[in-house]
Symmetry: C2
Amino acid sequence: MTYVSIKFSKNRLFYIDQTKLPLEEKWLECKNLNDGYSAIKNLNVRGAPLIGIFAAYVIIIHLKSLPLEKSLFLKEFKRAIAYLKGCRPTAVNLAWALQRLETLCWENQSRSVSRIKEMLAREARLMHREDISLCDNMAAFGAKLISDNDRVLTHCNTGFLATAGKGTALAVIYQAKKDKKNVTVYVDETRPLLQGARLTAWELMKNKITAFVICDNSAAYLMRKGLIDKVFVGADRIAANGDVANKIGTYSAALAANFHKIPFYVVAPFTTFDLSLASGGDIPIEQRPQDEVRLIMGSLPVVPKKAKACNFAFDLTPHDLITAIVSDKGIIYPPYKENIKKIMVKIM
Amino acid sequence: MTYVSIKFSKNRLFYIDQTKLPLEEKWLECKNLNDGYSAIKNLNVRGAPLIGIFAAYVIIIHLKSLPLEKSLFLKEFKRAIAYLKGCRPTAVNLAWALQRLETLCWENQSRSVSRIKEMLAREARLMHREDISLCDNMAAFGAKLISDNDRVLTHCNTGFLATAGKGTALAVIYQAKKDKKNVTVYVDETRPLLQGARLTAWELMKNKITAFVICDNSAAYLMRKGLIDKVFVGADRIAANGDVANKIGTYSAALAANFHKIPFYVVAPFTTFDLSLASGGDIPIEQRPQDEVRLIMGSLPVVPKKAKACNFAFDLTPHDLITAIVSDKGIIYPPYKENIKKIMVKIM
């Protein structure tokens, strides 16, 4: 069975509200640009690859409200793209997908508005199909790294809720299972927003994979006890030298894996690479509201009134802590600077 | 102002219910042995030094219900001691305090039951006063390690809620403040039971110390960003070689501190040392109910129904990751095996 987290059909866009999972499986319709912006901003739709595809569809939904006069259309289109691009800063897939629509539009601005709209809608659907096959490719490459009876640590959510396909890091595990390998997954709960506990545990149960939710702070101790064989995580942006921005806590897990000599794999499609940045230090790291730490699930206060919190939503893992990066074009090993360049040239 | 977490007066024992903090400041009375057992087991009273003193008082409360005939008294007394000792396995202070009462009783078994009861009650009060002064001593030694404007990371709760005095690691910070040093504290929230977010943040606010609650998984990244100067934590048991059992997440913080060359200090009184154990591998590590991970604050589910969790309540930090151990008798530096023995001989 194939699960999905967004649906686009007859020019209508639907998404599963990820903030309500796993307690409630609720589908909502995104009716306009502001709906889409809020859905991404408030993490109803999240996951680096998914927000790229979703944002592209949000633009398609928005097209029908744009003026028919071409110069006005182009101006409003550009404004919508810029607005959505600014919604979340760290994952590059959002900017990448929107840039692709923008470039297509600019290259075809001599055509009629209705023709441009058609082309944009076709491009969004193409990106969607591409994302599905990127996931399949990463899964196939990554599954080779998994042995029978492996116990894998993962962080945040990187499955069908994080992409338009079957996932990045979790897709590797799904593929290993399909290949008849027995895999046990330790799932970092991933505070503050608990994407591991809420979303990854839910996905793994749907896919009948043995999983244990753990508090993020216990991963290092489980490694010391010899309970973890490999770590697989996703990425929000990868710089030219292989430095990785990903959900807060990834760096901590990478340090622990490094200390215990446990392989640490990052799984991400080419859309997550940003070769314009020499290193991870240039990646903008989103800071989100203190209340995400102060109130669990937006409702349960766990600190005294007026207590302050600090909430970096992502962190940076330097490339020398990463054993390999599993991309849709193959497994990339160090030295990353050269090997990423080689594989990216093949793609682009 | 001096805050306390237990009160013993006119043979009645009261404690602040730590499971309700910080939302509610509720004092309860411990009326009998079973009350006391539950209060420790369910973490209404927690903190390695505190549960030692509290358990001693629970025994004193229990004395009045014991038979007056001596052989029956001794049998029932011994049974009560054994029962309470088994309540929580990791912190050695519990066993230490109860053993001290048991030894006193055995040494004086030729005396009348009423005389033995008097002696036990006096001993419990003495241990209470001693714990207060142990805290003062640790605070004085530890504060020398803090410089003006230090930004300190701490884990779990190690203040007046964790001891009968002003604390272990937090007492060091309180003393530094008293010495007019400006200190900013980053408080690991300490999943699953959030003792950092709930208790440490509450203590620091009461003591007007600048504090930021952080998710445990972000400490390593804050270190990388240069925001942490030192780490101070408590301990539940310290083996003869300096290996430390402490709240889950301590090991993860120690690994990160080690990688970033940030001093990592453990603060604990001699009652936390267990020289009968050669190394940390011999310390029993308590596993607690899965629901502590699955349900936040015992009520809010954060995983799918039927999802499994893994809940080690403590972890082990090997001595080579520890910069120094601040004891009530002075600061202990490596090599720990020799230096712990030297300082303990002085005490015992």
